[in-house]
């Protein structure tokens, strides 16, 4: 893409882009740490995640302010406008991912010792799948890689499937062991990973929109409801 005649506008766009990238990098670190905290039963890691979330929140405010300033002062059109609108939306998604990681960390501190490694590993596997998607979506943003963004969008159903399967496993475990409070935290942790996957997909949709001006079709592969919900057999 060729540069604008206004070097100040080029600098503004580069600056906003760098901040969004930084937010993506922080999300990656937080998600990675969340997985590690669950796998290794490490409370200290969970504490670090909470600190990183504050940094993401600050960056989101800075991105919003920089975009509003650029729109007010430059009156951007076409791809410039799409890039700026997408920056606001993507930074919003990253901010939510940060919140969800923080929530995972807080819950992890409460339940770590209560569950066998096998169960925690299953949740961590879901987290790792989500991390893989998040990394791809950040790479697609950095490299403006349309194909990669599309792959992330298409593959979200894999996370949904993993979550559905895990939900059933967790529910059966809860029923058997009668450990409702701690088990609920675990279900919510799994759900949070699944939601991070959704936000990651949203990021890839925004990248696609910024590059092409087209919204990705909302129809994509769907996942099944957890069987326990489908059967309505809650006790």
């Amino acid at each position: 893409m060729s540069l604008h005649i206004s070097s100040a506008f080029n600098e503004d766009l580069t600056h906003i882009n760098a901040k969004v990238n930084e937010m993506g990098g922080l999300c990656e670190r937080m998600l990675e740490a969340s997985i590690k905290a669950i796998k290794k039963s490490d409370v200290k890691i969970a504490d670090q995640i909470i600190i990183l979330d504050e940094k993401i929140n600050t960056l989101e405010i800075e991105v919003n302010e920089a975009v509003i300033k650029a729109i007010a002062l430059r009156q951007p059109v076409a791809d410039d406008l799409r890039v700026l609108i997408s920056a606001i939306k993507i930074s919003g998604a990253f901010e939510r991912i940060g919140d969800l990681c923080k929530n995972i960390a807080k819950r992890t501190r409460l339940v770590l010792d209560d569950f066998p490694k096998k169960t925690r590993d299953k949740i961590a596997n879901l987290g790792e799948k989500v991390l893989e998607q998040l990394t791809k979506s950040i790479n697609s943003y950095t490299k403006q890689d349309l194909q990669l963004a599309k792959i992330v969008w298409e593959k979200d159903y894999e996370i949904d499937e993993m979550y559905t399967e895990l939900f059933d496993v967790l529910l059966k475990y809860l029923k058997k062991k009668k450990r409702i409070a701690a088990g609920s935290h675990l279900v919510i942790i799994a759900k949070n990973f699944e939601r991070i996957g959704d936000h990651t997909t949203h990021v890839s949709r925004m990248i696609h929109f910024a590059i092409t001006g087209e919204s990705l079709n909302l129809e994509r592969p769907k996942f099944n409801l957890p069987s326990s919900l489908g059967e309505n057999n809650e006790t």
């Binding site: 893409m1 060729s2 540069l3 604008h4 005649i5 206004s6 506008f9 009156q75 951007p76 059109v77 076409a78 791809d79 410039d80 406008l81 799409r82 001006g213």
Partner: protein, 252 residues
């Protein structure tokens, strides 16, 4: 939507120099069409072809066809003076006659014989000033010199003067470039209001103005029509790279 102007393969030369190259463009009726492009791209030349303002330039030669309601405006039966009553023009710099406000508006209807008596003439003047959104500001000073008005008011006098001869089309060549933002907003609002009754073609260097006022936009570059389409599409997702580079202020 019906077509008001149909330009077919129009070339314009000033002596040997070609200013416009093979332009075909349909301008729709009762709609605002904006012509944008860098200086020297041919947009004003094209605008001036639409009411034969280029006739007065000896070195100017035009080929191709320009049809107004399917009639060739360069055909043998067309009187340029009558044509310019049907296709009025407002210029970059407000250019009221050095006469009273009333006389500025009354001049056109009088020479075209549009009023049979003074009462009718006054009605035309009042109606025109009303349509131009100026009546409340000038109704008590119609005998004042038009040149004593503010720039924005003068430009609206010029629009009222154009409206007074009941044109079908109004051509505007950068009508707001000498005006402040408030006067500009008033002219743009006026254009929006009158566009239901008149076909308006505006040349503007302000992309924001083109985006704000027009339904269709044509982008000219080096005498060629690069892209023509709905304004919202041109400014959100242009098809041509040259259009994109121009509207976003990039190096072409």
């Amino acid at each position: 939507m019906s077509i008001k102007f149909k330009a077919e393969k129009v070339d314009v030369f000033y002596n040997e120099k070609q200013a416009i190259n093979n332009i075909s463009l349909n301008i729709e009726k009762n709609m605002i069409t904006a012509l944008i492009g860098p200086s020297g791209c041919g947009k004003s030349t094209f605008l001036r072809c639409l009411n034969r303002m280029n006739d007065v330039i000896d070195s100017c030669k035009i080929t191709g066809n320009i049809l107004l309601d399917n009639e060739d405006i360069y055909g043998p039966n067309i009187d340029p003076v009558d044509l310019r009553a049907r296709v009025g023009m407002v210029f970059q710099k407000p250019n009221p006659f050095p006469k009273t406000i009333f006389e500025n508006i009354a001049y056109g209807p009088r020479i075209h014989g549009l009023a049979s008596n003074n009462k009718e003439l006054r009605e035309i003047v009042f109606n025109s000033l009303e349509k131009a959104g100026l009546i409340d500001e000038v109704k008590d000073r119609l005998d004042d010199q038009a040149t004593g008005l503010s720039g924005g008011q003068q430009q609206r006098v010029c629009i009222a003067r154009a409206i007074a001869v009941s044109p079908e089309v109004i051509l505007m060549d950068e009508p707001c470039s000498a005006l402040d933002p408030i006067a500009t907003a008033k002219i743009e609002e006026l254009m929006n209001e009158i566009s239901q009754s008149y076909t308006i073609v505006i040349v503007t260097h302000s992309m924001q103005q083109a985006a704000r006022v027009s339904k269709k936009t044509a982008f000219f570059h080096l005498g060629e029509l690069i892209e023509y389409g709905d304004t919202d599409k041109i400014f959100t997702k242009p098809k041509n790279q040259k259009t994109l580079d121009y509207i976003t202020g990039r190096f072409g």
